[in-house]
Symmetry: C2
Subunit: 154 residues, 2 copies
DNA sequence: TGACTATCTACCGTTAACGTAAGATACTAA
DNA sequence: TTAGTATCTTACGTTAACGGTAGATAGTCA
C-alpha cells in the first residue's frame, strides 16, 4: 500500500476510536475516503484532520447534525457572500451555545463545590434522617441554602 | 386538593417539561411523590426542588446514573464519615469532569471564533473548489492553520 | 501460491431518555 | 349526578451513535 495513506484500522488506532465509528461517520456523509480498486478504504491526512475536527465537536456535546451544518463552510464560500453569511451565523449560534454551556457549567461547579464542603464538614450523625433533617448535621441544617443538596435521598 | 401540593400536570407546566419525564424520573427511583388515596401523584416544594436539581445536572451533560450517585449524600451522611468521604469523592469527580468540559469548551470556542472571522473575510470566490482550495479565498488559504475548518465539505 | 489477517457489505442489536397510545380510573365543575 | 378533563398503568415505539456478527472478499507475507 502507498505510504501516503492509512487504512481504516490504522486510523482507528491512531485516533483511539473504533473502525465502526469511522464507517458510521461515512454513512452519515461526514467523510468520504479514497478506495483501492478492491474497495479498501484509504485515508489521507486531510481525512484524518477532518475526523479529528468531528471528534473535537462531538466530544464537546455537539450532535453530528450540527457538525454537518458547520461543515458547509467551503461549499458556501465557493458560492458567494450569502452562503458565507449563513455559515457565519451557524458558527455564531454554536458559539452562543458554547457560552451558555460555559455559564451553566460554572454555576454548577460552584454549587457542587459548596455541596462538597458541606459534606466534608459532616462528621456523620447517627440520627435517623427525618423530614426536618438531623439537627447536628450541617448538611441537613443547610438543606435549603444549597439547592443542589435537595438531591439528597430520603 | 390541598393547596400545598401540585399535581403532575402543574409541575410539568411550571418546570416546562413533560409529565412523561417526571414519571420517568420516578421509574428511575430519583423521586417519589406523595399519592392521593386514588393514586394521583402529589408534589411538594421539596419534590420540585429535587426535580430542578436533576434538570440542572442533566441539562449540563450529566447522566441520570451520575445524578443518582450524587444523590446519595444524605444517606451516607447519616451513616458516618466513610460514606461522606465516598460522596465527597463522587462530587469531586463531577467537579473534575466539569473542569475538563470547561477547558474543552473554551478551546473550541476560540477555534470557532477564528473560523467565523475567516468565513466573514471570504468574499465568496467563484472558482471551482479544488483539492488545493481557492487561491483567492482566505478560508481555503488558511486551511491548515485553523483545524476546525478541516470540516469543510468538498 | 497458500495461509492468515484485515476489510468489505448488510443487517440486526443496544442504551439512554424519553414519546405515544390504549383502556381504565380519578378528580372537578356545573 | 354527570359530563369532561386529568391521571393512572402497561407496554410498545423512537432517536442518536454506535456495537456486534456473518459470510464474502482483499491485502500481505513467507
Amino acid at each position: 500500500m502507498s505510504i501516503d495513506y492509512l487504512k481504516i484500522g490504522e486510523v482507528a488506532e491512531r485516533l483511539r476510536i473504533t473502525v465502526r465509528t469511522i464507517r458510521y461517520y461515512e454513512e452519515e456523509e461526514l467523510l468520504e475516503p479514497y478506495r483501492t480498486p478492491g474497495g479498501t478504504r484509504l485515508y489521507s491526512e486531510q481525512h484524518i484532520a477532518r475526523l479529528k475536527a468531528i471528534l473535537h465537536l462531538t466530544e464537546n456535546g455537539f450532535s453530528l447534525d450540527v457538525v454537518r451544518l458547520i461543515g458547509k463552510t467551503r461549499e458556501s464560500c465557493a458560492t458567494g457572500n450569502e452562503g458565507s453569511k449563513e455559515v457565519s451565523n451557524i458558527i455564531g449560534n454554536s458559539i452562543a451555545d458554547i457560552e451558555e454551556k460555559l455559564n451553566n457549567l460554572k454555576a454548577l461547579k460552584s454549587e457542587l463545590a459548596a455541596a462538597k464542603k458541606q459534606v466534608e464538614k459532616c462528621k456523620g450523625c447517627k440520627n435517623t434522617p427525618s423530614s426536618k433533617g438531623c439537627p447536628k448535621c450541617p448538611v441537613n441544617k443547610n438543606l435549603n441554602k444549597i439547592e443542589i443538596l435537595n438531591l439528597v435521598w430520603e
